[in-house]
């Protein structure tokens, strides 16, 4: 039996800095199948699909489409070769109308001497909505006025409008209501019957099992297995997704006092559309892990705790003084530190020297009479921190943008940890950081904990949360799903179950 693979990837790898997002993955996709990709956050699904859709270029390996080498350099280029993708994040231009969005970059087909025939374009859009059985969205309103679900529908139509052989859908159903889901399933069945290939990512396992012909499980950037979905159970899938020995070295030390008093109390925090009635306590000297899927609101919660985002309802109380933290100033004065996820744009002055970066949050410590900021004290302080945090650099005068990602992260952490804190909020502290420095950071977290400081660790990596936390708070759709205690023993399976 000879099978014609409509698309295949061979030994494809991709790294972002030291992070190996996809490692030597080989996959054959058949025409006329719905192929599901399953895995945790950071397992490499989106990266793999982005390479196929031309958004990222691979570091290594080969791709073939219809037997020919396939090397898209841009999404538009992939489009020309019959590959369309609806990405996970929102992909519409807010300032254009719906119809303009659908045909952006492809409007020449409606143009007569350069002038676009709007009626033709609208008719084509209407036909597309109707032909694919997708509920119509108004065509002449700005994309900014649409709901998330409507936006996703438009993106779907845009992807279909080029009549692709390969359609890639990255977590599209999460935003869909029941009837649109049903419509999508019908549509996919129809496309499948036409011999098209559909690559489908979903965190909804029952949906994936029911919809897909075959499923590929990815884990830590590597392919675990490709299986026929017939006869497969959810439990088997979950085991494949998470069953791993923890490779990284964690430096977990039990919290000194299991029942320490709280240092921070969150009470019914609500941010419209993002967080719903979130309540918890952070205790002195504990690491509280915050985990959840990408739309769970964990990163947003970190910003609320630091006073960066205002809560619409509820409050954050700093227990020592009973003060309500509702502004950045109060948070900083109460001794709360926040290391944001977006390191280069929010956590560092990348063009400036290591010295300036290290000194900025602690600047009050160098002020003498007449407001004199002693350069000598600053230099000494920076030199000490450089050594204490083992930052690899030519000296404190080196610009931060000449350092590796890991060392940049160390500078960012050091600038905060070197000042007197009561609470530290770390958002994805090991993102884009190599293994050695990751271990270093875990060690730091453990040390800081021993000083009686309360730590909130926000992370997309479950093993990291399990390895470092005393308690893990799992969020789902902006609400607290469950808090796990280390005493009960963290099991990856049970946590994933709550998360998904």
């Amino acid at each position: 039996m000879t099978k014609s693979f409509s698309l295949s990837v061979a030994d494809v790898s991709k790294s972002f800095g030291p992070t190996r997002a996809v490692i030597d993955v080989s996959l054959d996709f058949r025409a006329g199948e719905i192929h599901g990709l399953i895995g945790e956050n950071g397992s490499g699904k989106s990266t793999l699909l982005s390479m196929i859709a031309g958004i990222h270029t691979r570091d290594k390996g080969q791709m073939f489409k219809g037997g020919q080498p396939y090397d898209p350099v841009s999404p538009a280029h992939a489009n020309e070769q019959g590959v369309s993708m609806v990405v996970q994040e929102l992909g519409l231009v807010d300032g254009l109308t719906v119809a303009e969005n659908i045909f952006l970059g492809k409007t020449d087909q409606f143009a007569n001497r350069g002038v676009i025939n709007l009626r033709k374009m609208h008719r084509a859009a209407e036909e597309a909505f109707a032909a694919w059985g997708i509920s119509q969205v108004p065509l002449d309103v700005f994309a900014s006025s649409l709901t998330v679900e409507e936006k996703k529908l438009v993106e779907l139509v845009r992807a279909l409008s080029t009549d692709p052989d390969v359609l890639i859908l990255d977590e599209i159903t999460a935003a869909f209501s029941h009837n649109n889901r049903t419509a999508l399933y019908k549509l996919l069945a129809k496309l499948k019957a036409q011999g098209k290939l559909i690559l489908f990512v979903s965190h909804n396992l029952p949906e994936a099992l029911q919809l897909c012909d075959r499923l590929t499980v990815l884990k830590d950037g590597e392919k675990v297995d490709t299986l026929d979905s017939k006869g497969l159970t959810e439990d088997e899938l979950k085991r494949l997704m998470v069953g791993r020995e923890i490779k990284e070295t964690y430096f977990y030390t039990p919290a000194k006092n299991e029942n320490a008093e709280p240092v921070l109390v969150a009470d019914g925090i609500t941010v419209d559309g993002v967080l719903h009635n979130v309540s918890f306590e952070l205790r002195r000297g504990e690491v509280l892990g915050l985990g959840g899927l990408s739309d769970s609101g964990i990163h947003e919660l970190g910003k609320v705790l630091f006073g960066l985002t205002r809560a619409d309802q509820g409050q954050v109380i700093f227990a020592d003084t009973g003060e309500r933290i509702d502004s950045l100033r109060k948070a900083i004065n109460s001794g709360i530190a926040y290391v944001p996820k977006d390191r280069d744009t929010e956590a560092l002055m990348v063009r400036a020297t290591i010295e300036d970066n290290l000194c900025l949050p602690s600047v009050d410590a160098f002020v003498g009479p007449l407001g004199f900021l002693s350069p000598r004290k600053r230099k000494k302080f920076a030199g000490e921190q450089l050594e204490a945090f083992e930052i690899k650099a030519s000296g404190i005068r080196q610009a931060v943008n000449q350092l590796s990602g890991g060392n940049r992260q160390k500078v960012s952490l050091a600038s905060w940890l070197s000042r007197p804190n009561k609470i530290i909020i770390l958002d994805s502290p090991t993102r884009g950081v190599d293994v050695g420095i990751t271990a270093n950071i875990y060690k730091l977290i453990a040390e800081v904990k021993q000083q009686g400081i309360g730590i909130i660790l926000i992370s997309d990596e479950l093993p990291e949360l399990i390895g470092c936390s005393d308690r893990i708070l799992i969020m789902k759709n902006g609400a607290v799903a469950r808090i796990f205690e280390r005493a009960e023993g963290f099991s990856e399976n049970s946590i994933v179950e709550v998360m998904i």
Binding site: M349, R351, G371, Q402
Partner: protein, 311 residues
């Protein structure tokens, strides 16, 4: 490689100044080196330096003040009226206070209401210049003869030294300067680190206004009075001086006071040399325009690091 880039960044402004001096020595020879001429270069330069001592705080933050010339004009005009009414002693207090007030207005609107600094200060510049005829009522206003004595190097130099010490200290050795540079590097990081960003922006514009006021007093002394063209172009000369000294448009930690002085001297020499060589003021404007684009472009290329310059 990296260190070489860093050193280029330091060398270029100095080299530019030296080249310009050499060029004009060749082109206009003696006339350039006459003591009278050198003194007039310095006198002109001191005004740019006054303006720059204030503007450098704003530029360090990555913003701009295009209203300095108009603030100079309006505060000098109102001060001249007040001085004629109430006596000469009022000149500095009123000019400084008015400058500070106009600066405060800029600072509050830019920081609290999030109006881009280019738009806000340009709009005020137009508005203040629109107010000028209201005060001058068509004719020039003269100031007492006594004030004329102020505009010579022997009087201005001590003032410059004093102000340089105060503003230099504030800029290089206190939180105000340090925070301003941090805002220019990364406003989000600065805010997260506890820098009172809004307060710092207001302070910077107030300082900018104060220095425009002081420069206004010396301009009054030079011209002997006020007419509607007073302070025309001032903000651009000052800006040009700072950028010529190698300060990037985006501001940040590499903004240093000494660069202002190098830049101001370069602009002083350029303007003087072009005039001596017989180039008209209009053509000199074109040369300055070319220099502005060229120098900002070069400064962005040679600043430590490679962050792209964006709007």
């Amino acid at each position: 490689m990296k260190n070489r880039k860093l050193s280029w960044e330091h060398i270029i402004p100095f080299a530019g100044l030296v080249c310009l001096i050499l060029l004009f020595t060749v082109l206009v020879g003696d006339k350039f080196w006459r003591p009278y001429n050198l003194k007039s270069i310095l006198n002109q330069t001191v005004l740019y330096m006054f303006g720059g001592l204030g503007l450098i705080f704003v530029i360090a933050q990555g913003s701009i003040d295009l209203s300095q010339g108009a603030v100079l004009a309006l505060s000098a005009t109102i001060s001249a009226i007040l001085v004629n009414k109430y006596g000469l002693w009022l000149i500095f207090p009123s000019a400084i206070l008015l400058g500070a007030l106009f600066g405060l207005l800029n600072g509050v609107i830019i920081s609290k209401l999030k109006v881009p600094s280019v738009t806000c200060t340009l709009a005020f510049s137009i508005a203040y210049r629109g107010l000028l005829p209201v005060f001058t009522r068509g004719g020039p206003i003269y100031v007492p003869f006594k004030l004329f004595d102020l505009y010579n190097f022997e009087n201005m130099f001590p003032v410059l030294v004093l102000l340089t010490i105060i503003f230099g200290y504030l800029f290089e050795y206190t939180k105000v300067g340090y925070f301003s540079k941090a805002i220019g590097e990364n406003e989000i990081k600065a805010r997260n680190s506890g820098v009172p960003v809004e307060k710092m922006k207001i302070i910077a514009y107030v300082l900018c206004g104060i220095m425009a006021g002081i420069a206004g007093v010396f301009t009054l002394s030079r011209v002997g009075g006020v007419d509607v063209s007073i302070g025309n172009f001032f903000e651009l000369e000052v800006m040009l001086a700072i950028f010529t000294g190698g300060v990037p448009v985006t501001g940040g930690m590499s903004t240093r006071i000494y660069r202002l002085f190098i830049g101001a001297l370069t602009i002083g020499v350029l303007v003087n040399g072009l005039t001596l060589y017989g180039v008209s003021a209009a053509l000199a404007e074109g040369v300055k325009g070319l220099m502005l684009i060229g120098l900002v472009f070069l400064a962005a290329r040679f600043t430590a690091g490679k962050r792209a310059v964006t709007a």
